[in-house]
Symmetry: C2
Subunit: 328 residues, 2 copies
C-alpha cells in the first residue's frame, strides 16, 4: 500500500476517534482537507445521560455542531446564536438547572429522545441529524448500546455529568468505570472500516484519553481491531507541555499518579499507535518516545490551524503507510 | 343556606369548569374577585396529547398561564415574551412543527413529562406548577387518568389536536368520542367539593360545550354529582348572538344541526343548570329560556370585563342559592 491519499475507487476513508470539544476541532480540520464523505468520526457516548427525561449525547452533539459550523465559538459546546428562555422558565419552575440546555440545542435532544423511544438506533438518528445539518462526513456513535462512564473519585463514584458539569471536575479521580461497555458492541461499521484495506488512517483526536477515548477503546474487540488494522493509527497528544489545552486531562493525569507530559500519552496508547503527533513545545521529548513522532503546532485556535494539523496528521499517516505498523 | 359569600369557616369555595382560552378569562375574573384560595378551576384534559415525546396539556397550561398573568395576550395560548428558537431548530431538523411550542412554554412540558414518567399524578404536578407561578387558586385536571377527545368528522375520526391545530377545524364535525372517559374517574377532590355544603357555586365557563366541557361531564359520576350538589350551577354562554367569541363552537353547533344561539347552549346543559348568563345582545331570548337567566355583557376584552362578569355570575349564584335548584 502506498501513501497515496486516493485510489481509483474514490477517496480513501479516514476514521477519527473523538470526544467533544478538543477532538471535534481536529475532526473539523480533517473534514475540511479530505474529500467530502471520506471522514467518519466515531464519537464517545460514555458521557451520554438522561436528563429531564431527555437523552443527551454531549460528544455527538459537539462533533455535529462543530462539523456543521453552528457550534458556539465561545464555549465550544452548544450552539451559536443560542437563546436561553427554556432554562429561565425551568428555573422559575424550580426544576434542575445544573446542566445548561439552550433553546436551539434542545430541539436535537427532544427529537433524538422521541426517536430513541420509538426504537430507532442512535446511529441512525445521529446520521439523520448530520444530514439535516448538511454534514458530508459521517458521525457514528461508538455503539448503539448503553455505555455510561462513571468517575471513581476520592468522594466515591460519580455519574460522569455530575462529576464533569455539576461538580466541575473538583473531586480527585482514582479511576473510571464504563458501565455497560463489556456487554456493548462497537458499531459494526467501525469494525468494517478497520477491515477495509482502503482505510487511509485512524486518527485518535486530541481528546481526553481517560474519559473520551478510553470508553471507545473499552468496547469489546475494538482495541484488537485497531491493533490489527492495516492503516496507521495516529494519535494527536492532548497534552502540550505539562498542560491540557482544555478540560481536566492534566488534572486527571496528575491525580492518577502520572507525569503530565506526552510520554504519559504515548504510554497510555502503547501497543496501539503507529505514530504520535506532539506540539513544537515538546520537541525535546521526541527522542524519548518509542513511536514515530511528528512535531508540529497542535494548538488549534483558527480554522487554518485545524486544517494544517489535519494535513500534518494525514501526511504522517501516508508516510507511515502500512510498513510502519507496530513499532511503538 | 343563604346567599352570603362567606361563613365563619373562611371564604366559601367556588368550582369552575374550564377549557382553554375563553374559560380561563372568566377563571381569571373569578380568581380576582374571590378571596385567595377560594377558587378551584377544573381543567379539561381531553385535548391533552403526546407530541415529540412530551405530554402537552393545553387547557391546563392556558388556565395556569392566564391565572399567573404570563399568558400571551395576543394568542390567548402560550406565554408572553416567548422566544421560538426551539421551533426554528426543530424545523431545521426536519421534525414535526405543526404544533407550536415556545421556548419558555417548553419548560412546563419537559418538567411535567419527566415527572409523569416518574409516576407523579398530573394533579400533583399541576398543583406544583401553579405554586411555582404563585397562583393562589387551585387548578385541577378533571382526572389523573388518560382521556383523549377524538373528533368524528365527515373525513373520519381525528385526534383532537390534529383536528384543532393541524387541520384548523376545517373538517365538518358529526360527533365526538372521549376515549378513556368511561374508565376514568373524576379527580376525587372534585366530587368532594360537590358534596361540600359550603360550596358557593359551580361555574361552567364560556368554553366550547362539545370539546371543552363535555369531556369533563363525560367522566363517570360527574354529571350526577353536579346535578345533586347543593350549590347553584351557573353556565356562561359561549355563544353571543349567533357567533362564538373564539374557536369553533358556532361552526360545530351548525355542523351538528343546531341553531347557533343561547337556546342551544341551554338545551345542551339541560338538567344541570340553575342559571344561565347570556349577553345583552341576546336579551330578547331570555323569555324563551326555561332556566333563570342573567343578562349582562359577557364579552371579556379587558381585565375589568373579566372581573365584572365574575361578579355578576357570583351574585347570580348567591341569589339563586340552594332554593332555585333544578328548574331548568
Amino acid at each position: 500500500m502506498s501513501g497515496q491519499p486516493q485510489t481509483g475507487g474514490g477517496p480513501r476513508p479516514v476514521l477519527a476517534l473523538s470526544g467533544g470539544i478538543g477532538g471535534s476541532k481536529l475532526a473539523l480540520g480533517l473534514a475540511r482537507v479530505l474529500s467530502p464523505g471520506a471522514l467518519t468520526v466515531v464519537a464517545n457516548t460514555g458521557d451520554d445521560f438522561e436528563h429531564l427525561g431527555l437523552h443527551i449525547s454531549p460528544d455527538i452533539d459537539t462533533v455535529t455542531y462543530t462539523l456543521a459550523g453552528v457550534q458556539n465559538p465561545e464555549t465550544g459546546w452548544g450552539r451559536a446564536d443560542e437563546t436561553w428562555s427554556f432554562m429561565t422558565a425551568l428555573h422559575e419552575l424550580g426544576a434542575e438547572t445544573w446542566f445548561q440546555l439552550g433553546d436551539r440545542d434542545l430541539a436535537v435532544h427532544v427529537e433524538r429522545t422521541r426517536r430513541l423511544r420509538a426504537g430507532v438506533p442512535l446511529s441512525e438518528i445521529t446520521a439523520d441529524i448530520g444530514r439535516s445539518f448538511g454534514i458530508a462526513s459521517r458521525i457514528l456513535p461508538m455503539t448503539d448500546r448503553r455505555v455510561r462512564t462513571r468517575v471513581i473519585t476520592q468522594d466515591g463514584p460519580l455519574d460522569f455529568q455530575r462529576y464533569f458539569v455539576e461538580q466541575r471536575c473538583a473531586p480527585a479521580v482514582t479511576g473510571f468505570v464504563f458501565d455497560g461497555a463489556p456487554e456493548a458492541k462497537p458499531h459494526p461499521d467501525i469494525l468494517a472500516m478497520l477491515c477495509n484495506p482502503e482505510l487511509r488512517a485512524v486518527v485518535i483526536c486530541p481528546s481526553n484519553p481517560y474519559i473520551s477515548v478510553d470508553p471507545i477503546l473499552a468496547l469489546p474487540g475494538l482495541w484488537d481491531a485497531l491493533a490489527a488494522c492495516n492503516a496507521p493509527v495516529i494519535a494527536v497528544s492532548p497534552i502540550i507541555g505539562h498542560e491540557a489545552v482544555k478540560g481536566p486531562t492534566a488534572k486527571m493525569m496528575a491525580e492518577l499518579g502520572y507525569t503530565v507530559d506526552v510520554l504519559t500519552v504515548a504510554q497510555h496508547y502503547r501497543g496501539l499507535l503507529d505514530g504520535l503527533v506532539i506540539d513544537t513545545v515538546d520537541a525535546a521529548m521526541a527522542g524519548r518516545l518509542h513511536v514515530p513522532v511528528v512535531v508540529c503546532p497542535t494548538l488549534m485556535r483558527s480554522l487554518s490551524d485545524r486544517e494544517e494539523l489535519a494535513t500534518a496528521v494525514l501526511g504522517f499517516a501516508d508516510r507511515l503507510g502500512r510498513c510502519a505498523r507496530r513499532t511503538g
